[in-house]
Symmetry: C2
């Protein structure tokens, strides 16, 4: 790898770490340069604008997410086992303290920062990534359906959304409220979610 690409990579790693706890909007070329013992302008040259840096950080994070969450989960046998592995890896990702993302999942914080922003390169990329993530979730869920472990007529997209909500709840409980029971609560919620989608479960309740 050429010197330039190597520096760029190091910079992105540090930028991700900083973005995870001050927010993607609030990373600063100057602060980042200091952390890397570089000049502002020297660092700046690698990305041609702050906006581009933000997009690159998102891409870097997505790569990392794929390698540390999605791919390992795909090694588990298809079905509920894979789904549970995915959730566990996901919970681990959100708690990636000390290295990579001391401030917790960057996609969650970036979502809240850019959700009501007008369209733009950063928001667009983020939306695309999240939609792709929902696709992956649905695929894994459908795997469990095909294995006969979840019921045939399950609304897999709804399931994916509820799973996502569960993870968001975990994020708040563990990070803001610092609740030691957060992880256990997430598992409980997942169990209930799976139970309601099991082939045995009757059509639920009155509206």
């Amino acid at each position: 790898m050429s010197k330039g690409l190597q520096t760029r990579d190091t910079a992105l790693r540090e930028a991700l770490a900083q973005a995870s706890h001050v927010g993607l909007k609030n990373i600063t070329i100057g602060t980042l340069a200091d952390s890397l013992s570089m000049s502002k302008s020297g660092l700046f040259a690698h990305f041609r604008s702050k906006e581009q840096l933000q997009v690159d950080v998102l891409d870097h994070a997505a790569d990392l997410f794929t390698r540390t969450v999605i791919q390992p989960a795909l090694k588990e046998p298809r079905g509920l086992e894979r789904l549970r592995a995915l959730v566990d890896l996901w919970l681990g990702w959100d708690g990636y303290a000390d290295w990579a993302m001391p401030g917790g999942c960057i996609f969650i914080s970036a979502t809240m920062e850019f959700d009501d922003e007008p369209d733009g390169p950063v928001r667009d990329r983020l939306v695309a990534q999240q939609q792709q993530w929902f696709d992956s979730l649905e695929t894994v869920i459908r795997g469990a359906v095909r294995e006969g472990q979840l019921r045939e007529d399950l609304d897999t997209l709804q399931f994916a959304h509820e799973l996502y909500g569960l993870m968001l709840g975990h994020h708040v409980a563990s990070r803001l409220l610092r609740d030691p029971a957060a992880r256990e609560r997430a598992h409980t919620a997942l169990d209930r979610l799976v139970a309601a989608a099991s082939p045995g479960a009757g059509t639920p309740a009155p509206a």
Copy 2:
């Protein structure tokens, strides 16, 4: 109301609106002053620091939340009816477009901004508010238990957390993904949550 308090109130209203879409961290005395056709220093005098302004904005939002969500819900008969009313009002609150909070629920965005911040006046206030909100949720849920509409041995705190996760999911679906089905999905999730907690429902599934 004296002139000073009136100005202060107007300022807080505007500050809340701006904070809801640039984030509580990123509101600016200067921008805020311009929006109010005031001088920076004239506005600044009302709050003695930016940090104090942020705390005051949170308090202002909490007041508004109590008046528009909690109190109206308390007019419904205790039990599931009240719980569903609360959720509907809550969904409305998160979509308070055009006035008050064009950027969606400020507590959600503030949570993501301050979750991994060290303790401080702003974070502390936010945590206290959220914990109080969880208490209110639990109280309403317990009301449904006492009415015999939810089962006796229900873990009401777990229920509250899952309900909160559901709302967070709605926030993402409606604001980031702009999914028109977001509200319907939230209702579906609530139905499932209630169904699983109904007195009829058997002890769910294998671990």
